[in-house]
Symmetry: C2
Subunit: 335 residues, 2 copies
């Protein structure tokens, strides 16, 4: 700070006042101090202080996409918990790109984070877990099956889809489409598993054409599905994909639930006020986020119980107005 | 890597295979390598490589809250742009907490980010700009008025509210509530300014009780407003606050637009499919994000035109079904 004062030709007190953001400093002095700080590449007090403390603590958080409401809720809840214990959280998006994800994790490691929470893009490839191990820091996965390699916090997506199919089958549906989560991830795998099990239990023949993936789902695909010859009478999809479905339904003049029953996996504030109000299977992303944060804190503080933990959160159906009996065969042929 | 091999009692080739995530490695060897990596606190290849390159480049991104859809859109668009040029983006939430924000920015600085984009919690206090200057890195603000101190990309929120009030006044409304953005920020300030200007232009007397702030807006406040004696016939609010309004409207049995006209500032996929479909004033968060990213890239690459830049994006009204004529005085008295 003395070097800054010397170069700026002001007192050390003035430097301090500028660096601490005091208001009563003449503009010329502010300018001189800033110039000196820049020239000397000076690390100001507040930064130096946390550097001296050794670790300004931060947890890296990897999600697929910040614009996904459910993921944002998890992050937000985890952050609340970690903040209370003095940890910042630094968030990065992988967009299901493994190459990118490796770069992000390496970058976070290099930036000396204390641990990493989040959803990797692939939880089926053992070699990828090896990569995570070599990062050599505490890891907690959410919505990914860590296969006994790391702690994980999951949502029971198989049961969620089971509940949805069972309900639709009870209304008489035999042709139910599913837009499942991503390949190579817990969410996608479990959604398909639960859907298939419930279809079989209800005596519904499995039609591969009715099982779609979010990674290949868009308005065109949806329009083809809903207006084609083998069109389903019901569809189950996650929040973002339901928005696509509703848009296509509007455009094509279909009616919910008369022509198509819709169930959303996950919800936000607007699901209940959509027209018609959406029947949903809700998860508890905030619970998942909180538990993952707690696991991380225990790992960092050395208070974790021994062994790898794997926690699974339930899903719950909320029936509103977007499901009904399937259109009669006659009516469907007439269209 | 030789140290790791020695400690693990395996060949350097085996270490390399484990660190690079190859599949054909015996579990016992994987285990030994991992243990040695941990004991030596070894920095694996992929990390070391990016460290040798000098900078694994990253831009810090400060937003108020990841669960805000509009902010998430800005981040997402900025990220796309920065990624294409080899920059990761690390996101942190300030929750309008200045103390926390200072800690975050210091933490990011300490983690050697190359620049910082985002929304600070207070753009009215000059001393806070001084703090930003002392971080001594490229800064671009979005949705905050940098007062000539930094580049900034803004949305014309004053005009947005002007459009909303003008439209409501044309329908006959004289009692229009506003839930404005945060105090001490461009968004909040400009919303109020545009609202007041348009009220005055329409000859509507300003009623301070009708100007609320998002920071103090919740279901209780909203219920009191919409059921109290001086209740407005219309309300203008941002996306998240509109969700609160719609919830209270449902609970209290009010009808939109018969009892209350609603305009949402900003929108997401569900705004148009709410019941009734929401009339909105849209911004272009993705354009804002992209431009901020471009400004940052120019600053980092030294290709920025001289001088501080300040860009302002327009807002646009989309009329749907949530606004109508105000309830007649007679009808209101009867309720």
């Amino acid at each position: 700070m003395q070097d800054v004062a010397r170069l700026a030709k002001v007192s050390v007190g003035s430097v301090s006042r500028v660096l601490n953001g005091r208001e009563n400093v003449a503009p010329a002095i502010q300018e001189a101090v800033r110039a000196a700080v820049a020239e000397l590449n000076f690390v100001p007090n507040v930064v130096a202080r946390s550097m001296r403390k050794g670790s300004s603590s931060a947890i890296g958080c990897l999600i697929s996409d910040i614009t996904q409401h459910t993921a944002a809720q998890m992050v937000s809840a985890a952050e609340e918990r970690l903040r209370a214990r003095g940890f910042e959280i630094l968030i990065a998006n992988s967009h299901y790109d493994l190459e990118r994800e490796r770069a992000i994790l390496s970058s976070l490691k290099q930036r000396r984070i204390d641990g990493f929470i989040g959803a990797i893009s692939d939880d089926e490839t053992p070699s990828y877990f090896n990569f995570l191990h070599t990062l050599n820091m505490p890891v907690v996965l959410w919505e990914r099956d860590a296969q006994g390699e790391f702690n994980s916090v999951l949502t029971d997506h198989a049961d969620g889809c089971r509940q949805a199919v069972r309900y639709l089958a009870s209304l008489g549906h035999r042709s139910i489409a599913l837009v499942a989560g991503h390949e190579n991830t817990w969410v996608g795998r479990e959604m398909v598993r639960g859907y298939q099990a419930a279809c079989e239990a209800a005596g519904i023949a499995l039609d591969p054409a009715l099982v779609l993936r979010t990674s290949a789902f868009n308005k065109d695909v949806c329009r083809a599905l809903l207006t084609g010859p083998g069109r389903p009478t019901a569809i189950i999809a996650t929040l973002n994909d339901v928005a696509v479905v509703l848009e296509v339904v509007r455009e094509t003049g279909l009616s919910i639930p008369a022509d198509l029953s819709v169930i959303s996996i996950g919800e936000h504030e607007y699901s209940g006020i959509a027209s018609p109000a959406l029947t949903v299977v809700t998860q508890n992303p905030r619970d998942v986020g909180r538990e993952a944060a707690d696991m991380m804190l225990q790992l960092i503080e050395g208070s974790a119980p021994s062994g790898i933990r794997r926690s699974k959160h339930p899903m719950r159906m909320i029936v509103r107005e977007s499901c009904g009996a399937p259109p009669s065969l006659a009516r469907r042929k007439k269209r």
